[in-house]
Amino acid sequence: MSIDPTPAEPPPLATPEPSVRPRRTLPKLADPDAPLLVVEDLKTYFTLESGTVKAVDGVSFRLEQGEALGIAGESGCGKTTTALSLVRILPSNGRIVGGSIKLMGIDLVPKSDNALRRYRWREISIVFQGAMNALNPVQRVRDQVAEPIEQRLGASSAEARKRAGELLELVGIPRARGAAYPHQLSGGMRQRAMIAMALACDPALVIGDEPTTALDVMVQAQILKLLEDLRAKLGLSLILITHDLSVIAETCDRVMVMYAGRVAEEGPVSEVFTRPRHPYTQKLLAAFPNIHADRRTLEVIPGSPPDLRDPPPGCRFAPRCSLAMDVCTTVVPPEATFGAVRVACHLYPPAEAEAAAQVAGVGDLAVGAEAAS
């Protein structure tokens, strides 16, 4: 018991001022100087009758306190699996087979399920996609928000309900609507309720798994605005998973582009979106109209992501890449860094990358190469 770094006792909730947040306390054994989250070489595989699906295969990234990271990519490229692996909410046939997940310096991977349970929601909470299905249809919304407060923070049910009401108001749902059941709320309201629920234990990190995908454009904008406001007000650390690059452009500090279970490119949003280096990132951006408004034609990436039971041996994007070279089909591309940007592509050999980064026009090379395709 004493070995487990359990979260410290929650602060008393019945504070005189109507504060919505309990003061954040770090888990025991947490290193206050460590980055919020460091994921290294994470591998999550699924076992099927027909073989092993390498859904996440060697993913590394880090997140600082208060930062927002967007994870982008086509569906089936391992975005959601990466996020669910952080708190190990995987389907029964899924398993983390390697790597480390260090939350404030504490590695979550070797922890037993029971020990890990203490980190769920208290430290890392998730706003799932499609709140209609992610909310329990036969329980009042307020009770669903209150549940983790009562169960995880040890609040009394009256306190928990009171705080649930405050949280609902914080996300723009009138307190009285908390008595409603999910089907009685609109899609936007349900998503707001999901967000209130995610904030219930004042977690260190909130993961948004396609939080706006099922909503219409107007409501999408409102929810994104809400997330931005909350980030400013509460200093949230956020991982936002979406295939919609414009959402990331608006909301996130950094972006990680994933392809077939691996990281293709990662770096500051401003850098990656204006100067995409990886051919996949370039194609992905080309498929979105509103980022480069000057583009007249929308491109479609031909083909579809590979079968992850038997992925291509070299670069996984090679079969669909118009710039693929011989080496791409046989050798896994190493990561090259250009300042704050990481790229895994044979166009940028790591040895030359640092030097090349000094030379102006590397990005032009990439864009030029893409334009030639």
Partner: protein
């Protein structure tokens, strides 16, 4: 809240009962030699026969006169006279047989619902575990077994071979009881085996239904959400999976009720339990149609009402149908 859903269900139940009453009338006229058979009741005197003919309007046209007469009689609980039990009113014959059945099946259902649902929920949640294999295997066998066969097996083991329980009846014949408690004890002693047969059979059914319902629920997103909340597994099960899994289970239990009750009355025959089940067999042997029809009417209406109850429970469990 919910008045619309509820009133719809009640209306439906009333219409169904009306249909059953009509069907019963048609059966009544379909009877071989009917309607003369009623008046030719071998146990009735000629005056009584004339009275019966007048009572049922047998000399008047089938519709509306006979139908109206039938409705009046049915509304008053008058099902005519039994063929077998000489000259006795059907109502009288049946009245004495209702409460043994009510106790046996009321208790049996209660035990089965509690045990069956708990067993089914647990095996479904721990799919592939030891409890699942053992429980589901046993449930499948119980489900495949006619209730009376289960009764016969229990009887030969625990009554005939081991002698732990009496083989037949509700009380020991010819025994006098010093106190009321002794009488109750004897009753319970007789009740245990038939009750075990009824409950075990039903447990098989209910646990299978609940198990598959839980397995389906387990994959729902809200269960994933609940797990992500880091609450204990038993809370995820009790607070999220079970309340949702109960919904299809409740409506299935309602729909299967007619089949279950009917099959289960055969247990009474095995244990000579003096309820409606044994009465059904006696009446069938003697081709005592008035009694059979009254039993049909009673059981059918009971099933309709039980279904209504299932609908009401469903409405209480699922807020979506209430609005």
């Amino acid at each position: 809240m919910g008045s619309h859903y509820l009133s719809r269900r009640i209306l439906q139940a009333i219409l169904t009962i009306a249909g059953i009453v009509l069907l019963n009338f048609v059966l009544f006229r379909m009877m071989p030699g009917s309607p003369d058979r009623i008046s030719h009741n071998p146990n009735a005197s000629s005056e009584a026969r004339a009275a019966i003919r007048a009572r049922w309007g047998l000399d008047a046209p089938l519709f509306p006169d006979q139908f109206v007469a039938y409705l009046e009689a049915t509304a008053q609980g008058d099902f005519g006279q039994s063929f077998k039990f000489k000259g006795k009113d059907v109502t009288e014959v049946i009245a004495g047989r209702i409460w043994p059945t009510l106790i046996l099946f009321g208790l049996g259902e209660l035990i089965a619902i509690v045990v069956g649902l708990v067993l089914g929920a647990y095996s479904g949640w721990k799919r592939g575990g030891v409890v699942d294999y053992a429980g589901n295997g046993a449930s499948l066998i119980l489900y495949s077994m006619p209730y009376f066969l289960l009764g016969m097996i229990l009887l030969v083991i625990f009554a005939t071979a081991l002698g732990w329980f009496p083989t037949a009846g509700m009380f020991e014949l010819g025994r006098t009881y010093p106190t009321f408690l002794d009488q109750v004890a004897d009753f319970v002693h007789h009740l245990i085996l038939p009750l075990a047969a009824v409950s075990l059979g039903l447990i098989g059914q209910y646990s299978i239904v609940m198990r598959s319902s839980i397995i389906e629920t387990r994959g729902e997103d809200y269960v994933t959400t609940a797990k992500a909340k880091g609450i204990s597994e038993s809370r995820v099960l009790r607070g999220h999976a079970v309340p949702n899994a109960l919904l299809p289970t409740v409506s299935l239990i309602g729909i299967n009720l007619g089949f279950i009750i009917a099959g289960a009355i055969t247990v009474e025959v095995v244990f000579s339990w003096p309820g409606l089940g044994t009465l059904t067999q006696e009446a069938l042997e003697a081709r005592d149609y008035p009694v059979l029809q009254a039993i049909f009417l009673i059981l059918a209406i009971t099933v309709v009402l039980a279904n209504l109850l299932a609908d009401i429970v469903y409405g209480r469990l699922d807020p979506r149908v209430r609005t």
